[in-house]
Assembly symmetry: C3
Homo-oligomer: 396 residues x 3
């Protein structure tokens, strides 16, 4: 258990307080708070590897509200909830009375009487997802303050239009593990670049999450995309500000090659053009089906101008010693495997495949850490108690 002791000692030193706070955007959190989430996630992983139960709830619901499809985040959320002892209940809006004009304020309270955590994915509408989460948060505050709810459930952002904090934090946990410590990230260059995909309407939240988080730790973050594929300006501002404060750098250009040059890490990933995502929100709200179809065609045609934005062996040679670490939130659009032409060549992806799987493997523990730090007053004490209790997770 010496590994756990080391983690808890460091956690104690940070003295961060995430109790009763939602996890919506990484840039709402202090460096100490982000480091705490990592340390709690690592502690939970350590308990898991030592076959010690991390169950700290005897009962309680963890509600998942997926307003877009999901596999890995869905299973990561389920795993995290289950690890802590919570039962997952899906809020399927098609099976509920929410369509009947019920307010967000009301629904948020109605589902929360014995609820500890609410995980929300709402990434389809630019300008809507984060706003929705704030609305739910306010409703929960109101219900808790007024005695409707016996506890204030924590909201965990499972991807909105602005950030994808469980992904970005899992990526950070993976990088910390890969390089042997957060301090090892200082000065490392990460290229967050657009990549071609024959698909339409991918959210901007992954690249935004990466530039918003990796600039916190003294990294040299290089964002590159074709001209029309900008990110939300406010998030780019956040990245600039973060880099200045952390002693890192933030570059922003339109050349994949420049971004890859001497990079330690590359993260090539498709997203939709900014103006398309804005237009799409309008059309979706107006229920303009024809307009949406036309927009999709126009967007795919625009994408097709940038088929050379593929992570090939040749481009990988531009990176530091030709050996940058390839990252992806998965599923990647792999040329010749999942599509004809895509984000990454088959051979590059295959060489880093297991690394991307390990990257994904951090997510259940990150989500559990977000839940635990929000719902528990004293994570250090709790984790120590769990270790001391030593209940076997799997007998035999």
């Amino acid at each position: 258990m010496s590994e756990l002791n080391r983690l808890l000692k460091e956690l104690e030193g940070l003295n961060a307080d995430l109790h009763e706070k939602d996890f919506l955007l990484t840039w709402d959190k202090s460096e100490a708070e982000l480091k705490s989430v990592l340390l709690v996630a690592e502690s939970l992983r350590d308990l898991y590897r030592n076959n010690i139960s991390a169950r700290c709830f005897e009962s309680g619901l963890a509600i998942s509200n997926f307003r877009d499809q999901s596999t890995r985040t869905r299973f990561s959320f389920a795993s995290a909830s289950n690890l802590l002892g919570l039962a997952v209940q899906d809020l399927d809006e098609t099976k509920s009375q929410i369509a009947h004009g019920e307010t967000v304020r009301e629904t948020a309270n109605m589902i929360s009487f014995l609820t500890e955590v609410i995980g929300i994915r709402d990434d389809m509408y630019l300008g809507a997802g984060h706003t929705y989460m704030l609305e739910v948060a306010e409703a929960l505050d109101d219900g808790y303050r007024n005695g409707v709810l016996p506890q204030r459930p924590a909201i965990v952002n499972l991807q909105c239009d602005v950030d994808h904090p469980t992904q970005a934090m899992a990526d950070l946990m993976w990088l910390k593990e890969y390089y042997g410590g957060l301090d090892q990230l200082k000065g490392k260059k990460i290229a967050m670049t657009w990549a071609y995909s024959p698909s339409y309407g991918k959210p901007l939240s992954v690249p935004q999450g990466i530039i918003g988080l990796m600039t916190r730790f003294g990294m040299q973050v290089s964002l590159a995309h074709p001209p029309d594929y900008d990110l939300i300006p406010d998030v780019v501002d956040v990245a600039n500000k973060n880099a200045a404060e952390s002693g890192g750098t933030f570059e922003h250009g339109n050349s994949m090659e420049d971004a890859f040059k001497d990079a330690d890490i590359v993260y090539p990933k498709s997203w939709a053009p900014y103006h398309v995502m804005g237009k799409r929100t309008e059309l979706l709200r107006a229920k303009d089906t024809d307009g949406l179809k036309q927009l999709e065609q126009a967007c795919l045609a625009e994408n097709a101008n940038y088929k050379d934005w593929e992570c090939t062996e040749e481009k990988m040679k531009l990176t530091k010693s030709g050996k940058a670490l390839y990252m992806h939130c998965l599923p990647a659009d792999i040329t010749g495997v999942s599509c004809k032409e895509g984000e990454v060549s088959d051979s590059v992806f295959e060489r880093y495949r297991l690394e991307t799987y390990k990257e994904a493997g951090a997510k259940p523990f990150i989500i559990a850490a977000m839940m635990l730090t929000s719902r528990m007053k004293d994570p250090v004490g709790l984790l120590g108690q769990l270790a001391k209790r030593g209940t076997v997770r799997k007998i035999g």
Copy 2:
């Protein structure tokens, strides 16, 4: 724990026996039995507030069978199951082989081998929901008696065509709390009235549940609705009989104003015309889609004749000191919020909004109490044991 001791002492004195009995209709239960459910619900809430686990099942399924959409009852059922240690498994008839001509008798047994509770919502067809639950009950009796099932799962009615006992009992628990005791309800006037809504086909089970239950406790129950909006005659008879026995009164008229006059409590809520619900069952069975559309139009047109059946500030002034408690099972159709013209004005609803949320908050504990009293031989002993065991519900 003195509050719990007080509750358990009262519970013991009632000497009620709900063991191995389903909870389908409140009027099938004695006064002592209804009081017992309230006391068990209050005991579970007390344990919850004191952070003591009420888990009394190490394993076992709680099956939910929603034949109509639901949010708050779905989450209340999930919360109640989880509180006692049961895992929810949804019987989604679209994903099963039930459409393949399988009998209710067979399905009921097939899903019940390791099942403790079955919750059913079946409120769409007048003359069908309660009948279906009886059919399931008979099948379970048959299976248990003949050694197919190692235990007899309890059926909890999560709303049928006749009664909505989890709602009515939660409402009663809320009134008991609000007024400080069941005896405080004696002589209080409650107006259960129809209200306008631009929606179609709302079940009759809430008003039926309210008049069938509130007449048990010496209240002055006043039912009012437009001429064609009658309830099932048998239930009205039950209300009359109950009132006579409990020393209360039961009035039945066609004026919202008369019902509101001097009321301590108002419960304005829309439901479909009786003849429409009867016709609808026929058309649904005949799969007459065109007929159903015509019926919906006719029903909405009929509704529109009674737009003045709205719970306005003006009507609230008719109530006792103008300060009657407003109740609703939620979601309410709020004028200017969830619809153009609805059951209640925005300002009235907003003034009582938190009260309606608290009213809803009783439901998880009521459902858990129904489960516990049906599955456990000695609730007093069990609850005492849980308190003595003192397992912490949420560590840290």
Copy 3:
């Protein structure tokens, strides 16, 4: 607890090792391994009957992946998972990103980070279901070997195109109970016959599972079906080989009457013609909707030639003393109940109805035994420990 001791003693004597192995086909398993699964299932049932918790996981997911509809297997899987302490998470491919070209290899890893068991039903395509399970298995091996997964989840075949081992093993457990021991099955004649049904496309896996398993225990297995309704030739070979090795017999003909003659047990059940199932796979892959409709019509017309393949009172008279045990995996197509003309007459089915329900009741324990023997190194030790621990399953 002497019953449990007896079971564990026998289990220990078998010295079988199912640890870390998937359960895909019964004929991949040795006789000792099959007997071990039965004994573990019986031990779990004994613990259940004695109200002792079999919970051996404090956390962990059990994933269900139903690519075809299911009621009893779905609930059996949920019950088994819950019995051992695992939380069920459904992999609903319509709600996931799998449609986006994600590989099986990737998905298998992405859902498995904290997963102990994956149950798969994939029985629609001849030549596809078993292949898919092998692909998932290989992906899990790869992920586990390379440090992506902290444990190797067990795959349980919940019905594929080749075998339906949870059904066949539950049937065997039922026969063992019914006749008082596996040795009592030696020499008993079981007629596995086709039967008429007005339905289309029923898988071949139940009859294949039955002939593949029952030939292991010295039974006289008689398979009969109309000319075009052959089973997969490889499986028929397996049955022949098994019978030769176990001292049983395997007959294969085209007369229901011959098969029923002097049978101790009859298992009349419909399935699709072999050539139809092959053609269907092609059409499904080609997404040829019109072709599929035509095939369905042709198949139903072909079925209709064999309406006399019904298990009637008259045919039952041919069996041993006219009293053969009737078996079915359910739901049966009962003449005059679930269809106009079907697999079995109402009176025959009704006489054996409770027996078929008890047959089905073995399945949750069989699935739990498959999970436990695959995930746990020392089932004898574990079961003994559970009994010694003696945690009450249901308090009060």
